[in-house]
């Protein structure tokens, strides 16, 4: 498929998705499904995941598996808090970025220079990150220090001395807030689009903008520059790259340090949201970021979709447990669409008859889908409140389901996770 074709397909997919969301919202009356609040929460929750995922992308495209993202993110949060309370948000940004990058450097030294298994090194960094930060808190934030007087504790830093600015789209999502007014009319499709747009443009932290810009930037650098080509070659066939004079070690170092910097940036964002460092606030987002990246087939676009899925599901469940049950309906709709598409294909004229045997399996799938749809509708009608524990796991279950359907199309960089030594061919 040509590039244009893919691009169009993505647009069509997005349009269908919005249409279905809109349909479900109208049918269920759960306005939170497409409300601006949900989408702004989704953005808020997706950004750290996306940044961690970008970190994973940069490392793995250069052939280094980075399971230590979580640890690097933790370093990012602590140093952002520490610098931020003293010198403001810009300092927080720089410090968190650098701290994450240092974590990446550590990973690079272990994996690239010493050839340690990538997973092992990552696990060690995940152990070290929280250890180091707790230790630093114990030393620098203990009672009697200036920081403690400004509100620091063993688990938190003082608040940032200045906040990162937030921006909105003039007229549309602030001031007269036209999108907001449109959203509140709850008209089919129109309000939904307005809600989504407003959610993504209302009081957006500049770091969010920066993070979102990182996606096309990453795509551009990795797929349209010489440096990116060399970086990806280190993940596909480092020996070939080496034979053409590419300094593979250097490339890997750079990639892994950038990877750590992205993870650190994810940490910075968490600190910006809470306005201070809070111990444990990363809560496994490094791992989720990695999952989003795999989900996204090691590509920035796919990764963004993965992070968005997580952010959306989490945001929705935080805002409205009731809206979550509407996704039974969503699932049912999907299945019905699937059944319809399959039926159409099967009933199409000119189908060779000897393919009949193959359809035996098809019939089972079809029947199963139909039954599934019925069960989902029934669940939607009868369950009005899921136990919270089941609501909490919505994002994770959704990810598993999507992977079940799509994971066979994934292709990871060929030499990802391979221990590369200069001059030693495989």
């Amino acid at each position: 498929m040509t590039r244009v074709g893919k691009y169009h397909l993505a647009l069509i997919g997005a349009a269908v998705l919005i249409l279905m969301l809109s349909l479900v919202r109208t049918l269920s009356g759960q306005n939170d499904i497409t409300s601006s609040g949900t989408f702004s929460a989704a953005l808020l929750l997706a950004v750290p995941i996306g940044l961690a995922g970008l970190g994973g992308l940069w490392a793995e495209r250069a052939g280094v598996t980075n399971i230590g993202l979580e640890g690097m993110m933790v370093l990012g949060t602590w140093f952002a808090g520490w610098a931020g309370y003293q010198w403001g948000f810009m300092a927080a940004l720089v410090a968190g970025l650098v701290a994450g990058a240092v974590g990446g450097l550590l990973h690079a030294v272990a994996t690239v220079s010493f050839g340690v298994d990538h997973i092992i090194s990552g696990v060690a960094i995940n152990l070290l990150g929280p250890g180091i930060t707790r230790f630093l808190s114990e030393v620098l934030y203990k009672e009697g220090t200036g920081a403690a007087a400004r509100g620091a504790g063993i688990t938190t830093s003082p608040a940032l001395s200045s906040q990162a600015p937030e921006v909105s789209l003039p007229l549309l999502s602030t001031g007269p807030d036209w999108l907001g007014s449109l959203e509140n009319t709850h008209v089919f499709l129109l309000s939904d689009v307005a809600g989504i747009l407003r959610g993504l443009t209302h009081e957006v932290n500049i770091l969010v903008i920066l993070a979102v810009l990182m996606l096309p930037l990453t795509f551009f650098v990795l797929w349209h520059t010489a440096f990116g080509l060399r970086l990806r070659s280190a993940g596909e066939n480092p020996w070939a790259a080496e034979s053409l004079g590419v300094n593979v070690y250097l490339i890997k170092y750079v990639a892994v340090v950038i990877s750590g910097a992205f993870a650190g940036l994810g940490g910075v964002f968490l600190v910006f949201v809470s306005t201070k460092y809070v111990e444990g606030q990363t809560a496994g987002r490094g791992f989720i970021g990695l999952a989003a990246m795999i989900f996204g087939n090691w590509r920035p676009g796919g990764l963004a979709a993965g992070a968005a899925l997580f952010g959306y599901a989490d945001g929705l469940q935080l805002r409205s447990s009731g809206a979550v049950t509407s996704f039974f309906l969503f699932g049912a709709l999907l299945l019905v669409l699937y059944v319809a598409a399959r039926l159409r294909g099967m009933l199409a004229p000119g189908r060779p008859a000897e393919l009949a045997a193959r359809t035996a399996k098809d019939y089972t799938t079809l029947a199963a889908s139909a039954v599934g749809a019925a069960i989902l509708v029934w669940l939607w009608l009868t369950v009005d409140k899921l136990p919270n524990e089941f609501v909490f796991i919505t994002p994770h279950v959704l990810t598993l389901l999507v992977l079940l359907v799509a994971s066979q199309r994934l292709r990871m960089p060929t030499a990802d996770g391979v221990r590369y030594r200069r001059g030693e061919q495989h």
């Binding site: 340690v116 298994d117 090194s121 060690a124 070290l128 707790r134 791992f287 999952a291 992977l403």
Partner: protein, 379 residues
């Protein structure tokens, strides 16, 4: 020197260097914190003045090591096959709650009661690990993400069960939720007699957990299975070279499923030392995180039961010092820093020594071959 001995000596030397380096690094950190590294290391080795304190300290250390050892084994089974079971965390939590609940539902002679609990735990852990295994072999889902997702799901499921269907009675004013108490016939007898044998007082608390014996048996059994049987050979072959294993008649899907289920079944036992030896129920403040630590322990122990035992004891030794360090006014997080640096440095040392050993072996083989020694040629 035989190649095996040489390799073993190198490994030990590497580990020693790594630990010394880790000590140096943590000393720097301790000094930076304004405390004395000497005090800190004294606290590490000071098990107390009275015999009872010493016994308590040893018990704490060993009791901590037991679940870590089992966790390490669980992770190692997968690792041997290049299967990354990051889901040990979820598997053991779910297994622990189910086993604790089932164990509290009936009373039987001790042996049977305990056996049933162990079997339930292993079965639940194994079944939960079966999910990512099946997803992997049928749909090619990467087991790393699948198990990460399943961890979250397991934690929530356990929370739901402990507060809902599996909840037990509570004393008035008690805020922790837990499953019903397992009757006494389901308590694992402790090993305090070991101390008494040496004329020492019995330790406090649940005493030295009897599950230690099960863990040792498990370690030996797993070693036999992995090193001495056909199944172990197939696991090793699949891990070293999947396509060669396939061509030699090993069924990759079957191996993925059996290794994952075995890993999950072992993971299911991680919570039992605590439940059978001390808590006798699964509660909302059941020790979390053992699955993740198990990864570090397995790596440190190079995926071999013997090594894992040493690594688990090392972690237990360090963790025991959390309290004593605070008595010595040293920040206890130094322990985590030490654990992290030791893991990182030991794996680096492993890698370096492995390469030295390989180089030596190649040289020996080449010398034996004697092929490429230059010859005098008359052109």
């Amino acid at each position: 020197m035989p190649a095996g001995l040489y390799r073993a000596l190198l490994t030990v030397a590497g580990a020693a260097v790594a630990i010394v380096l880790a000590v140096v690094i943590s000393s720097v950190a301790i000094s930076a914190a304004g405390a004395s590294p000497l005090d800190a290391f004294a606290a590490l080795f000071n098990f107390g003045e009275t015999e009872r304190q010493v016994v308590n300290g040893i018990t704490t250390m060993v009791n901590r090591s037991v679940p870590l050892f089992i966790a390490g084994l669980a992770v190692a089974v997968g690792f041997r096959m290049n299967l990354f079971n990051i889901g040990v965390e979820g598997q053991y939590r779910l297994a622990a709650i189910c086993a604790a609940w089932v164990g509290a539902q009936f009373t039987a002679p001790p042996l049977i009661q305990i056996l049933v609990i162990i079997v339930v735990a292993a079965a639940v852990g194994g079944l939960y690990a079966l999910i990512p295994a099946v997803m992997k072999v049928t749909r090619g889902v990467n087991e790393v993400i699948a198990t990460i997702m399943l961890n979250y799901i397991a934690i929530n499921l356990a929370a739901f069960l402990v507060r809902g269907p599996f909840t037990g009675e509570r004393a008035a004013g008690q805020l922790t939720t837990s499953t019903p108490q397992i009757p006494e016939s389901g308590w694992f007898p402790n090993l305090n007699w070991i101390f008494e044998m040496f004329g020492m007082p019995a330790p406090r608390g649940g005493g030295l957990w009897g599950f230690l014996l099960v863990a040792v048996l498990l370690g030996v059994g797993l070693w036999l299975l992995l090193e001495r049987t056909r199944f172990g050979f197939d696991v090793k072959a699949s891990g070293l070279n999947a396509s060669a294993a396939l061509a030699s008649g090993v069924k990759p899907k079957k191996m993925v499923i059996s290794a994952m289920v075995l890993s999950g079944a072992i993971a299911g036992l991680i919570g039992l030392p605590e439940i059978l030896g001390d808590k006798h129920s699964f509660g909302s403040n059941f020790t979390p995180g053992l699955g993740f630590l198990g990864i570090a322990v397995a790596l440190l122990g190079r995926n071999k039961p013997g090594g894992i035992a040493i690594a688990a004891l090392l972690f237990g030794f360090l963790d025991r010092a959390q309290g004593p360090l605070q008595f010595a006014d040293v920040p206890p997080s130094v322990i985590t820093i030490m654990q992290g640096t030791i893991v990182l440095l030991v794996v680096i040392a492993n890698e370096v020594t492995r390469r030295i050993a390989l180089r030596r072996e190649e040289r020996r083989a080449a010398r034996h071959l004697g092929a490429n020694t230059p010859v005098e040629v008359t052109a």
